[in-house]
Symmetry: C2
């Protein structure tokens, strides 16, 4: 199945709603609404109680919905079969939210071609430490954006870039998982566009504490999540990125440094994978503009596509000028 999040009008203003997505039928189904109708009929519940129960079970937060473990995946089929027609909304014109609201947002660096290309373009040597421990970073989840969203472009970023990545969405709170059971923690797959400021990234990589301002202005997550059972093999997912309609990079989710199962296991060591967490797969070889010496401009339309998921479309905004920036302190550390 496919699950997403949309905004709907309510007496409380716009509110987030969890939806089942049926692209082939051109509709999304408001899950809490369908569930309330279903429970009222099936359990002889009062409409008010059914609504309260349904909203607790299927909240607008993906992280909260997934925190109830298998409930979402287990119940949704029956609910949609019973009352999907009574709670469906035409997919065109839907106001998409990021497919998840991740408690923690991490991003890998795993496709061999991208590691080499990126390092060459940035003038960096690939550290052999990546052959010993599994590279990934933590991003700030406060700026996740959904399908069709305008990408905020802070003026301190001069060289904007996109990154074509899958996002592994965690379904189970789990720790110290191992490669043989790691995929049990994955709820599904989405697309992740890890927008990046390449100029600023130089200094951030030199400092070695992870990306900060070069990364945490926009993280595209969506358009929705396809549950893992719909994929035969996590290493044969076809991916593509288009810039203003023109294909700029494509490939398949293989040729990686570490297996997905190893990446998930490593991340879970000594801490928790949490429901709703999104873990970027790392950028596919050729999945960034940097690798092709392409310069991006305001208004550019970036589409990431993955077979079995869908298309995550975003439009670059206009640089926001006039922001405060630290005054350099040359010699302060010498």
């Amino acid at each position: 199945m496919k699950f997403g999040r949309i905004l709907r009008d309510s007496p409380d203003g716009k509110i987030a709603r969890l939806v089942v997505v049926e692209p082939e039928k051109g509709r999304v189904i408001d899950l809490a609404r369908a569930a309330a109708l279903h429970y009222a009929a099936k359990l002889h519940a009062t409409p008010d109680a059914a609504r309260r129960f349904a909203n607790a079970a299927f909240p607008g937060s993906m992280a909260e919905a997934l925190a109830m473990g298998d409930y979402l995946a287990d119940q949704s089929n029956d609910i949609v079969a019973a009352r999907g027609d009574d709670a469906s909304i035409e997919i065109d014109g839907v106001d998409w939210l990021p497919a998840s609201d991740p408690p923690v947002l991490r991003d890998g660096l795993n496709f061999l071609g991208h590691i080499k290309n990126w390092s060459a373009k940035m003038g960096r040597t690939v550290p052999d430490a990546m052959e010993r421990i599994i590279p990934y970073c933590q991003n700030s989840p406060s700026m996740v954006i959904g399908n069709n969203a305008i990408v905020p472009w802070p003026g301190y970023i001069k060289r904007m870039d996109y990154e074509l990545e899958l996002g592994w969405v965690i379904g189970r709170r789990s720790t110290n998982v191992t490669p043989d059971n790691a995929l049990d923690s994955v709820f599904g797959v989405t697309l992740y566009n890890d927008f990046s400021g390449r100029d600023l990234q130089q200094d951030e990589v030199a400092i070695g504490m992870g990306g900060t301002k070069a990364k945490n202005f926009a993280h595209g997550i969506g358009p929705w999540i396809t549950t893992l059972d719909e994929f035969k093999d996590v290493y044969s997912i076809e991916m593509e990125v288009r810039l203003n309609g023109e294909t700029k990079g494509k490939g398949v989710s293989k040729d990686i440094l570490w297996r997905v199962e190893e990446v998930l296991s490593f991340i879970s060591l000594g801490e928790y994978l949490q429901p709703g967490d999104v873990i970027g797969s790392g950028t596919l070889e050729g999945g960034s503009a940097l690798e092709h010496d392409i310069i991006l401009n305001p208004g550019d339309v970036i589409e990431l596509e993955a077979k079995g998921v869908g298309i995550l479309r975003n439009v670059l905004g206009t640089p926001q000028e006039g922001l405060w920036w630290p005054t350099a302190q040359p010699g302060k550390l010498s």
Copy 2:
């Protein structure tokens, strides 16, 4: 005032409760309980309604409580004055939770002496990029621990370390703040022990994507939060670290690369500071064992103290062996 979080028994098992801390009176006050009593009397509310309202206003999550903006700071004085005696618990024996449950946990690198000492011990050159942009990292908040907690010690860390830091706790959702108003976003000050695995950190710094397994096994936050108004000056807070009762480092919160106001402003650029977020000040000069060539062992007691806050005490646990670890792939990237 001082605010913390504790665990209490309930018919639902142990639950988190927000407390006002009065160390000088040897007690903590259960804020939701005191508020329910206060509202019932003052507003002529029914006991049940007063309890529901009080628990919504003063939830066990610090992030959720602070998300209501100024409400916590504005109301607590009156509530404690009116009904503190009827909802107080002896401070000894209290089961402390991390003082905040941060949506995002960040950590600076800011004390000049520590930057130089740490770099020398790690055999690294201090990058001049730190004179241009403000260094900080994102940590995973899934392993925050509170006062008196045993520090989990994953077996893949050989050289354990502590770090003496202040934690700036965010009180307001805010973005693009500037040095002249940055401190308005700060609710208060806590202690932050950024436990670190120094051996593993070498490879993580070489990769340059931020600390991962060398950092995200334990983040000590507590014992509680002292509101910012109780400090005359954020640059004159006296700090100290003790190992098994012996002072190993001490100093004052000055001698920094970037002003606190600049650090907060930089972090807020293009994204959000969120209520409950904790931002580590960076380690005080001499605030780590590494800087003194001290080797830590299981059972060691680490106490961080800050004047005006209190003492955050933790005990190192026993290394957990038998965890999965990736098998090195020498040559895979060449």
